[in-house]
């Protein structure tokens, strides 16, 4: 038990009277010049409450101070094509896209990397919880989640701690919320050993008229905090403030990682949706990072600019919390609403129906100030925009990496390639049984993919797909992609390759790509070489989106991902959302019937640099990643959408890691229906050897299965669009993958190799 608090409240009056008092700003993560700026803004020293607010809101995580100057490109490189269906763009809790028939979709991907390393289960669970609250706060019903995961080496002892924790955390929280998990990625690489990446995506749907924004408008409207009570979890820096001024150590024992309660969040979802239906809220904001500090300052900044809060009204789980701790607590499952006084009664009727606790903290004012009282005295009196909007902005130094020319010169083209059938067969199996290409169903079978009854596609198909309208069949598809190895070799091209792959994956399901959310995972921004990687990746993404004509609607930046001094590979995870008129026309990634023709769309070049083949077979990472042609990708996507719309495709599978060899194996494994493949014509047309034809990772390629009766229509469609196409095989009732003249692999053998790695290490 802690001793009774002797904490003296640091009021605004007190702060003005004691300018000389030393404050622990450095321990809270503020630089000396930042602290000085706060003093200039206020014309006095900040109170400890104000210091708490500024320190969290000006943190890298909340303020984007190192990335802002680069992220502006997403707002500048915009064409009318990109904005025509955009209802809400970057800067809100999540972007909103009009998908037609009066429906809109909102989606966002966000990182929860560091908490998931410290405490994998709760870190990952609350990552899901946080992103889902962003979706609720737009007025939408959350309908699905996805996750993009990066772990250290599959056989490292610590990976055996992190992976099961993260997977069960996502499983626990997502399943208890009743949200289907429709896909994602799981990668292993030693570069993420002490810094796994847990990027969670959530997507929601709403009718156009249900859109809500985080605004505190209307002087006299009430500010209501509802949901879980506020406790001492998730307080990082606030404990420093607390222990500076009173009993040493009591704060330090509190967990810095938040603890999630998905049941509370599920009830909160239903409660919020009922509040929206009743027209009972004027503005709403979820509480995530920086808790009440963030919610009050952002709501006030986005509205009429003033708010008066009585902090004593916050319902507490732990009555010994100090004001600073209450301001900074990141307790989960809380929301803040702005409610008109005459609707307060209706509001409380709904919250009590759902047994959700709520309390009025204060009201919207016209003063332009955010004023917070505690025990009858004023402890915060600031211009909210200086906290939430006008934080510091840094032009971090950028330096071209000293090592990169050397790495780029070391091409995988020089590595020995397999010649005969036996060697090709062995390398295909080696790749298929490698950690990154192996079956991920050990992970995905722990996620509910059925709940809500609208899942049309999920893992292992190229993208997840969800029906939005039960009458018309209108729906959306989503895919996430990133290849850190490519980005290490060339962050500009690597980011574009991630964008192109996610875009192609969505197109392969039969949907039309419409919007992007990204989660940019990088090392320290204070490292000029990392900053160069970041700047190049953002530029690549912004240029790429402009060329493809799809907007970035939001996302998140995660810096300081490194093990010791070694930064992770730059890992910009790109999520692409697409729309489809009728999910009944969706296309799976593998064929279900024998006798279909297999076609390869696109051409193959000698592009083995950064490939899975180079990495797995030779332990090699060097050269330059495959070329990107976004105009070709656009043409390909339009071709696929047209073919899917006309029902010409039995299957479509994007070629990516592991090239054609892995795409064929996965196509066979999807439903256990075999294939006979002949590549002589491809080799002659593209001027490559057989190993390159199988393992090269040239972009712009998709493997499709076409029923015989649709053959003529399909080839005419390809000719009409001028996209390269070649028949390379047929699907077969013999359950095997046969590469004519080279090898035949039984489906059962492929399946065993494919399934073994994750089950061996984690089951």
């Amino acid at each position: 038990m802690s001793t009774p608090s002797t904490h003296v409240v640091d009021t605004v009056e007190n702060a003005a009277a004691t300018p000389e008092r030393e404050q622990p700003y450095a321990a809270l993560g503020l630089k000396t010049d930042e602290y000085q700026r706060i003093r200039e803004i206020l014309g006095r020293r900040p109170t400890s409450g104000e210091l708490a607010m500024y320190s969290v809101m000006w943190s890298e995580h909340c303020s984007y101070k190192s990335s802002k100057v680069w992220l502006r490109q997403f707002g500048q490189k915009v064409s009318p094509e990109m904005t025509k269906n955009l209802m809400v763009g970057m800067g809100e809790n999540a972007g909103v896209v009009d998908i037609g028939e009066g429906w809109a979709v909102t989606f966002k991907i966000e990182s929860h990397n560091h908490p998931s390393y410290v405490e994998p289960f709760q870190g990952a669970a609350t990552g899901v919880g946080g992103i889902v609250r962003d979706i609720i706060s737009m007025g939408a019903r959350p309908v699905a989640v996805m996750d993009a995961l990066r772990f250290g080496a599959i056989d490292h002892p610590d990976t055996a701690r992190v992976v099961p924790g993260v997977v069960s955390g996502i499983s626990f929280y997502g399943n208890c919320l009743g949200l289907p998990n429709i896909g994602g990625e799981t990668w292993f690489d030693p570069i993420y050993q002490a810094n796994p990446l847990v990027n969670a995506l959530a997507v929601g749907v709403l009718r156009h008229e249900d859109l809500h924004l985080a605004n505190a408008r209307g002087v006299g409207n009430k500010v209501v905090l509802f949901g879980a009570r506020t406790g001492g979890d998730g307080i990082g820096g606030a404990s420093i403030l607390a222990s500076e001024s009173f009993d040493e150590g009591s704060g330090r024992k509190r967990p810095a990682v938040q603890v999630g309660d998905p049941f509370m969040e599920k009830v909160l979802i239903e409660c919020c949706l009922e509040l929206y239906r009743g027209g009972l809220v004027e503005g709403i904001q979820d509480l995530g990072a920086a808790g009440i500090s963030c919610a009050t300052s952002e709501l006030a900044s986005n509205g009429d600019g003033g708010m008066h809060i009585v902090l004593d009204e916050v319902l507490l789980r732990d009555p010994t919390l100090t004001a600073e701790e209450i301001l900074m607590s990141e307790s989960q499952e809380r929301m803040m609403a702005v409610v008109a006084p005459d609707k307060l009664e209706g509001f409380f009727a709904v919250t009590s129906k759902w047994d959700v606790e709520a309390s009025v903290l204060g009201e919207v004012t016209g003063t332009g100030r955010l004023v917070i009282d505690w025990k009858g005295e004023t402890i915060v009196d600031v211009d909210p925009r200086t906290v939430a909007v006008d934080g510091p902005v840094y032009e971090r130094p950028v330096a071209y990496p000293t090592w990169i020319d050397h790495v780029n010169a070391d091409s995988a083209s020089a590595l020995p390639r397999p010649a005969g059938g036996a060697e090709l067969e062995a390398q295909l199996l080696t790749l298929l049984g490698s950690a990154n290409l192996a079956d991920k169903s050990w992970v995905t079978s722990q996620y509910d993919k059925y709940v809500l009854g609208n899942t049309a596609l999920s893992y292992p198909d190229d993208g997840g797909m969800v029906r939005v309208d039960e009458g018309s069949g209108l729906g959306f598809a989503l895919a996430t992609d990133a290849n850190g190895r490519y980005c290490y070799l060339d962050p500009y091209r690597g980011a574009q390759l991630a964008l192109a792959e996610a875009y192609r994956n969505v197109a392969a399901t039969g949907a039309v790509p419409a919007a992007v959310s990204d989660c940019l995972n990088f090392g320290s921004p204070e490292n000029p070489e990392v900053m160069w990687q970041f700047s190049r990746a953002v530029e690549g993404l912004a240029d790429g989106c402009l060329q493809l004509g799809i907007p970035v609607t939001g996302g998140n930046v995660s810096f300081y991902n490194q093990t010791g001094d070694v930064p992770i590979h730059p890992t910009p995870v790109v999520a692409v959302l697409g729309t489809i008129d009728d999910v009944g026309r969706r296309v799976p990634s593998g064929w279900q019937d024998a006798g279909d023709n297999l076609y390869l769309l696109g051409t193959t070049a000698l592009e083995l640099d950064g490939s899975a083949w180079a990495g797995v077979v030779h332990g090699h990472l060097g050269g330059l990643p495959p070329a990107v042609d976004l105009d070709a990708e656009k043409n390909l996507a339009e071709l696929l959408a047209a073919a899917a719309h006309e029902g010409l495709l039995a299957a479509a599978h994007d070629l990516a890691d592991g090239g054609l060899a892995i795409a064929l194996a996965e196509g066979v494994l999807r439903f256990g229906v075999g294939a006979r493949v002949f590549l002589d014509e491809l080799i002659a047309r593209d001027g490559v050897d057989l190993a390159t034809a199988l393992f090269s990772e040239s972009s712009g390629r998709v493997l499709v299965a076409v029923p015989r009766e649709e053959d003529v229509k399909f080839t005419r469609l390809c000719e009409g669009r001028g996209y390269p196409v070649l028949r390379i095989g047929v699907t077969d009732s013999v359950a095997a993958l046969e590469l004519q003249g080279e090898f035949t692999l039984a489906v059962d053998d492929l399946a065993q190799t494919f399934r073994e790695p994750l089950r061996t290490h984690f089951a």
Binding site: F263, K266, T444, G453
Partner: protein
């Protein structure tokens, strides 16, 4: 007049809207019931849907079993009204002692979601009369605590009286004793099972079948059976 089938929503229910959809697809009229009410709104049959009622705190289904509406549900069940408990609903039926035994954490410790083959062991209940005994069906399963347990004596009695309604085939996904996936009561009006029939009612959104992906609709028979049972009683 169509059969009116109530679907109870508890705080933390997740598949309640899916059960309502399945009722509709099965030819019934879904009626939303609220856990806090004491009113069954004159329904002809009741579904307790899947989810994590009350966060599954204490034990799965334990708190929901004491919800206000459950006293009416228990009365109606004892008087012969068809009641189906799916997953969490099965746990609630067991906690309410409408069905015997208990459900515990899966033996392997993980949540599992899979397309599960089942054998219909009793085709004379209100919810299975559309099947034939011995039918093999595919129904999605998704749970963390689906391991069925009971005393040897109870298990022998259940087997002897033909009260095992469904048994797992191929794989026992959670360590259930004697591969029990679902049970019925002596009257045959109450059925509980861990797999989710409401997720095998609509082509395109059901389990994968040998003929085509996501085409499984074996679950539809549950709801059609109940509709017929209700109409037969009138």
């Amino acid at each position: 007049m169509p059969a009116r089938i109530g679907v109870v929503t508890f705080p933390g229910s997740l598949d309640d809207r899916d059960a309502q959809r399945a009722v509709r697809l099965g030819g019934g009229e879904p009626v939303a019931l609220w856990h806090g009410d004491h009113d069954l709104q004159g329904v002809d049959a009741i579904v307790l849907p899947g989810g994590f009622s009350y966060g599954d705190y204490l034990r799965c289904g334990a708190i929901a079993a004491h919800s206000p509406i459950m006293s009416e549900v228990i009365d109606a069940a004892n008087k012969g009204m068809p009641v189906l408990g799916i997953c969490n609903g099965f746990q609630i039926l067991v906690e309410s002692q409408l069905l015997p035994g208990g459900l515990i954490r899966n033996d392997h410790g993980d949540f599992v979601c899979r397309d599960q083959r089942l054998r219909v062991e009793n085709a004379s209940t209100a919810w299975t009369s559309g099947f034939t005994e011995g039918d093999e069906i595919v129904i999605p399963l998704k749970n963390g605590e689906g391991g069925y347990i009971a005393t040897e004596e109870t298990l022998d009695r259940l087997e002897g009286e033909g009260l095992v309604a469904f048994r797992y085939l191929d794989v026992n996904p959670n360590g259930s004793l004697r591969d029990i996936a679902g049970l019925t009561n002596e009257l045959g009006n109450v059925v509980g099972l861990m797999p989710h029939p409401e997720h095998a009612t609509e082509p395109g959104f059901g389990p994968d079948m040998p003929e085509a992906m996501r085409s499984g609709v074996d679950g539809l028979t549950f709801f059609q059976s109940a509709v017929e049972a209700v109409l037969a009683r009138v």
